[in-house]
Amino acid sequence: MGKRYSLDRFINIVNSQNDLLTLYLRGLPFFLLACNAERLIFFKYRRRKQCFDIKAGITKEDVEVIVKDDFEGFDTKLLFDSKFNRDARSFGSSCNDIIRSFVKLFIDGTVKEVKREDLPFYKLKSMFDGFGFKGSALLVPFKSRGEVVGFMLLHPYCDVESIKPFVDVFGCVLDKLMLVKSVENLERAVSGYKEGCSTQDDKIYQLGKSAMVVAHEMKNALVGILGLFNKLEEYLKDEERAVRYYDIIKSQLERIYNFVIDINRYSRFSEAMDLRRVDISDVIDNAIEMVSAFSKNVDFSVSLDRGELCILADREQLQQVFLNLFKNSIEAGGSKRIKIEVSVKRKGNFLVIRVRDNCGGIKDLDKLEKITEPFFTTKSYGTGLGLSIVKSIIENHKGQISFRNVPGGLECVIKLPMNFVEERDGGKEENHGC
């Protein structure tokens, strides 16, 4: 446990250093870059509002937890901007190489001068230029309990001693923010993740890649077309036939647009995962809320096992699983009253999730086998990617998925390891809590 700091003291430290740092960063709004083995975070301090804008890597909930523990009288509303970046994403997978290279630089935890040409990646060089560092910068480590938990970049002429109080405070904060603390954990997560990827079907992977290029081009064109088309509506006021044609064209354009978005989603899911502890019941609740907003024709019932239902997963991807499954049932059910039952049970280190509907199921067993294949659909519309996306997400999480007919409908059974990184490494059980 680190020292406790009052809000005033913290604000004072930041204020007293802010001019200095802002100057170093040549007036750019950037303030601080922090990272440990698994996450990168940008803190942007807004002096006028006396609050932080956190650009990536952690959630508001994470912040509230550390704030409660470490800072007396800390009002999150005051300190953290209300427009907190809600879709903050971790750099966990996508920037692992970068993070690892930094962690290596800091293996001994001392302040180092780095030159632009020492930086191993183009992205880092760009960042270097973007911050206005010419030639070299100081990499200053944040430490907590003797371990390096983050770092920041400073102008080489900076007096490191003068910002020491600030560095100490942030070391303590970061230590609390980070879920995974050691480099070993990162190495394990990275190598495991890569192994997972290599087992994917190459053909589908290639298809996804080419689809992504096509989807990108199509999306760019469609944004303009649909946007201008929306504006056209204003000029069609009384022309009955024109309005009818307009509606048809618009619905078809939207169909293409949604198709393109799905293709892109499908081709991207294997790339980056933002792993953190996720409470499955929250994910289900959110998905139900989202689906209920546009479909009034569905009754949901949820039954959850008591106790711990937290797993290590990418929340956004997991939510997509439920959204796609619900959407699939709703589309299959047509105009009838739809019932969707979700149950979650814990079996050892696994969660068994069942999603069951009353929408008739798929009688043709050949078709049932194919429903998770890309572009396979039993409907007259739809991309045929919804359930492929579900399958690839579950497989990315080292889980299993199957579909079967049940009386009156279809049931999807998902088996997910609660901590797939550890499962892979010998099934060590560790209860982190959410």
Partner: protein, 119 residues
Amino acid sequence: MAEKKKIMVVDDEEAIRVLYEEEFKDEGYEVVSCSNGDEALKAFDKEKPDLVILDIAMPGVSGLEVLSKIKEKSPKTPVIMSTAYSHYKDDFYTYVADAYIVKSPDLTELKSKVKELIG
């Protein structure tokens, strides 16, 4: 009457340029648009816009380079990165920008960002 705020739109897609131009003119802004990075950098000095909406993937000088040069010339001018997909959000470089939006036919988010940044 107060002088209109000026927005510079940089995008290689003509339809998107026209869409943004029309929409922001309707909202009461003055709009200049450029179809590539080079043009944008030249026009930036001449036009001195109050805000820039910048596409990332463009032929020639990329949006990221334009962003860095604009921030070097005029760190206080807000720049909104506007791109097809959200993955650039993870790119360090885009953190120099003041906002990041994913292109969509629905301009509500973009308009509210612009309003937030320059009123």
